[in-house]
Symmetry: C2
């Protein structure tokens, strides 16, 4: 990272991403293949790779040009998908996941990427990176294919915590809007609060309170609040950021993914049904691959942990090399935009404002 600081804004600035090579379902070879794809596409990208030194050295040396851009940090321990977060918090030192976060903590890298156990990664991130001042519950944000011009919406929280009070939901709105500004290049993102109806009288008590809080911070948060939205708006075009608690968000995410996958499988079956339909599928190949690319979950692979001192991108555990590369690309874009610092500034200023809410609210009204 030294070089980045020495040559700010120069074309030769290096962006360093810290990558946990272990813990994904497909092992380190897939992770190394993924970062190699990204390295070839982005010349200013370097890596710190964490895992068993011997194994990683072998894998990296097989990929042309990767050795020069990749520092390996030896870490023999691996956090598995079955490890409980509480155990990992106590005994996780020495694992590749711990080591990957350490590089962000020490300022060697701006963003960490891991395919590992989500719960453990969040728990370790909380204790090693710590929460941003003013943030009570960090959140996991994802991008969801949508009808909006940018092609995706941001949804958070999708599972960092199972509950959220009105203050937390306000933080999610601020963090989600910051993410949409930097990740989707939207100057003033439209924020919606997920509910079972769009009428203001509907829903749980904490949602009504959050509704008013988020509305009152519109100007300070540099977003437009569209009020309550419904599940159908997550892939829709009524807003760019969908705010919800981690329980609801997680169920919605997995339901949407599962439904999309079912349709994809049925589509394949339909085309394999008869000789004629197989011919049709050949002719339709470009159309279908265009569609596939548009909604391919690997293209938007990466939940982002928001609200910490440092950004962490969680890739799907089952990600293949394309998926890992997508997660790295996201990490790269967030690092390049200076997202982490901007988010911290935004949350801090909003937290100050919240301390005398009413006065601040008046000041912020246009």
């Amino acid at each position: 990272m030294a070089s980045l600081k020495e040559t700010p804004g120069a074309g030769t600035s290096r962006i360093v991403i810290s990558v946990d090579a272990m813990g994904g379902d497909r092992g380190p070879a897939t992770v190394v293949a993924g970062i190699w794809y990204s390295a070839r596409k982005n010349p200013e990208l370097d890596f710190i790779l964490h895992g068993p030194q011997d194994e990683l050295e072998k894998l990296v040396s097989r990929r042309k040009g990767l050795s020069d851009r990749c520092t390996i940090r030896d870490a023999q321990g691996v956090v598995t998908m079955n490890d409980k977060p509480s155990q990992v918090m106590r005994h996780g030192k020495g694992t590749s996941m711990w080591s990957a976060l350490e590089s962000v903590r020490e300022g060697e890298a701006t963003v960490a990427v891991s395919c590992g156990n989500t719960g453990a990664l969040m728990a370790l991130s909380m204790i090693r990176l710590r929460r941003l001042p003013g943030v009570n519950r960090p959140a996991i944000a994802i991008l969801w294919p949508s009808r909006n011009p940018q092609g995706f919406n941001v949804m958070l929280d999708v599972g960092a915590d199972i509950k959220a009070d009105a203050q937390d939901l306000l933080q999610y709105a601020l963090m989600g809007a910051a993410y949409a500004r930097n990740g989707l290049a939207l100057e003033r993102p439209r924020v919606g609060l997920l509910n079972v109806g769009t009428e203001e009288h509907k829903g749980r008590a904490e949602l009504k309170e959050a509704h008013d809080l988020i509305a009152s911070r519109e100007v300070a948060g540099k977003y437009q609040f569209v009020g309550f939205v419904e599940g159908g708006d997550i892939p829709g075009d009524t807003c760019d950021v969908i705010v919800t608690d981690g329980f609801t968000g997680n169920v919605a995410l997995k339901t949407g993914e599962g439904t999309a996958k079912l349709i994809g499988d049925l589509l394949r079956e339909a085309f394999a049904y008869s000789p004629l339909s197989r011919i049709a599928s050949l002719l339709a190949l470009t159309s279908l691959s265009r569609l596939k690319k548009r909604i391919d979950p690997r293209r938007v692979n990466g939940g982002v942990f928001l609200g910490l001192n440092g950004t962490v991108v969680k890739s799907h555990g089952s990600a293949d090399a394309t998926g890992v590369s997508a997660a790295v690309k996201l990490a790269f874009e967030l690092a390049r935009s200076g997202f982490g610092d901007r988010l911290a500034a935004r949350v801090a200023s909003a937290a100050e404002g919240a301390q005398d809410g009413a006065a601040q609210k008046d000041l912020n009204q246009p």
Copy 2:
């Protein structure tokens, strides 16, 4: 209904469905077209149709053979999509919705069908039909396209109420299992409880309590409990009945629908992209229409209100004639299977059992 009671079990038994002709987005002509489709397919089906007499008589007389099988009940009032449930409860008398429920209340019809305002329909159903003994919160159950052999899973509650405690979730498990037995012909449906992970230690406190309650009633409820399931299992094959609170269920339902619709639209766009892809789409027409039929939301049109003295099928407000016909078909199948009586018996026996839970649990263990 007289004829049904006079000739029980005979091939000429009539099934009478009460239908609210008003309140849907497309007006009564669509509803009449829908019931006409159903009438032609099912010779033992009769209707009581509720709405403005003159208008309905005209519409019915245009459909060959429908007049003989359709009694019209004059009701001049209409519940609109914007009416608040509380207003409808006070002033709803004289509306076609009220009248449609009255036919079930009076025993003239077994099941009521309406395309109208869901909240108002549930509120009126609660006060006119009343809850079954032992049921605290009625639920809305829907069928969701899935990988299971039966092609669909049952999910409830998808929006009757915004919360549910452990006892409510147990009732949902019992009612959902009864629905799956009668609606999907599954002798011993597999029930799953929706959560953000399948590990038993995860999730909210009421979910852990519900987990143990539902497990303890497996034998009495004639279902197999598979434990916690995730959003991805809603379209999956790990269980047949997904139990959740109405807030989460409603968000999941609308997210899944929205995602499926987005994919469908993108698929159409993909095929309209170039001359070659348009030719491909012609060749692929049968494959695509097979797929479309499999996941067509109109084919599974109809949320079922469970836990009342009488069954109510809520059709989509935007349903076309095919959609209305699907809702009527569902109502017909539930009426024919004697679903309402069986559900009542099941819930009553479970409620008795719950009064001395531990003893009952021992008795029920094989």
